[in-house]
Symmetry: C2
Subunit: 240 residues, 2 copies
């Protein structure tokens, strides 16, 4: 009888846990950024949260990882996660930071940009998320502004945006162009921050890159309207 009782307790605990995880975060209403502390305390009480508003004069030339490699990718997976569009699998890119190698796990997009520079924002921010073997995280942020010129890097992504909660495979992504366009990270703002979505985990080694890149008007509008507003408001900088 006791065993049956315990089984019931465990069973209903699992239901409750799955319910908590099912109550997904969002960008408005009672599951919006102001309430993310309900998902994870770090979102509310963390002292090194991202994104932040970066003073322009703190971007530094030649401050970059020791090694940056972005190779073109084949047969990657694109997923519409509702709150973002994410590309993962078969990505071949890496960073080296102090002899520690980080590999590209996935990249995704935010509209409008999450980081700001001198209070200004940009139309899109891409986040390239890297991990090392100890699950340390490092993220490269790249800004894009609407332009007359379309950006060919975005073409296979925009043309293949799946329905919400669905996935597709993309044959080829010219990942090398991303890093070429930002001059192999020739000017960056490097800081320790957090994930910009729950659980808002800290210790993320951020590299926000300059200059801002172009994205075509139609590319931008399609990406923006597929995701909607998915930008956490800027957090107070450490020590402020």
């Amino acid at each position: 009888m006791m065993k049956l009782f315990l089984t019931f307790v465990i069973f209903f605990s699992l239901i409750q846990i799955s319910t908590i995880f099912a109550a997904d975060f969002s960008y408005s209403g009672t599951t919006g950024p102001a309430f993310w502390g309900n998902f994870n305390e770090t979102c509310l009480k963390g002292k090194n949260q991202s994104p932040i508003d970066i003073p322009y004069n703190e971007f530094i030339k030649f401050s970059k990882p020791d090694d940056v490699e972005f190779h073109d990718a084949h047969d990657v997976v694109i997923e519409n996660k509702g709150h973002t569009i994410e590309i993962s699998k078969n990505l071949d890119a890496k960073l080296k930071i102090k002899d520690n190698e980080y590999n590209l796990l996935q990249f995704h997009f935010h509209t409008p940009s999450e980081h700001r520079v001198n209070g200004k924002y940009y139309d899109v921010e891409a986040h390239f998320v890297f991990t090392d073997t100890k699950d340390n995280l490092s993220v490269i942020g790249v800004f894009y502004d609407v332009s007359d010129r379309r950006n060919r890097f975005f073409d296979p992504i925009i043309y293949n945006i799946p329905d919400e909660n669905a996935k597709k495979t993309i044959d080829f992504i010219k990942l090398s162009s991303v890093i070429e366009d930002i001059n192999w990270m020739n000017s960056t703002y490097n800081y320790f921050g957090s994930l910009t979505t729950p659980p808002c985990s800290e210790g993320v080694n951020w590299w926000v890159a300059y200059p801002v890149q172009p994205i075509g008007k139609n590319q931008y509008l399609k990406l923006r309207d597929a995701m909607g507003f998915n930008s956490r408001y800027t957090q107070v900088r450490n020590g402020e």
Copy 2:
């Protein structure tokens, strides 16, 4: 002696009050939207705060003020208030709501839009702020999206953006085109909300209008970069 003491008390109280008002609100850091409760409690505790995320199916056709008049305007004043670009003086536009006449006091812009529709945002939102003789407020919100087509209504505004905290005079603004373009408010979401900046006063009669209007790419980028990010995050809807 007592009189001198009281004079000192009043003097230093006035200094303190002026310091509080001088510490202007902003859109990031410790004076950003999450801290506006420090400027005015209503921003934190108000139950009918704006902006909000509006369900698309709640926009209603033919729900509009009894009378809507927008006349073209001459010799208006444009001011760069740092956190927004505002146009005032010599504006000739009015609304009638239940026999109450509201006159256009000023209009200004937000990038990105403050209101959202089904979680989606637009590139610009204009707020046309009306008052009646009892200082009741009614605001018309109009959305603009970046487009290949420039919007001639914006030309005199974009070409005359003053330096921060400065003003200029604009000869002519084709104010009538705003309301023609949105079909004289043929489809709106009408609700009682608040100012979207401190003091976040409530009782504002909002008319968020559809459809979304075009703004040229260069017009948009100039307006956006003159103001930077000036969009309060969406508030919880009354009763949620």
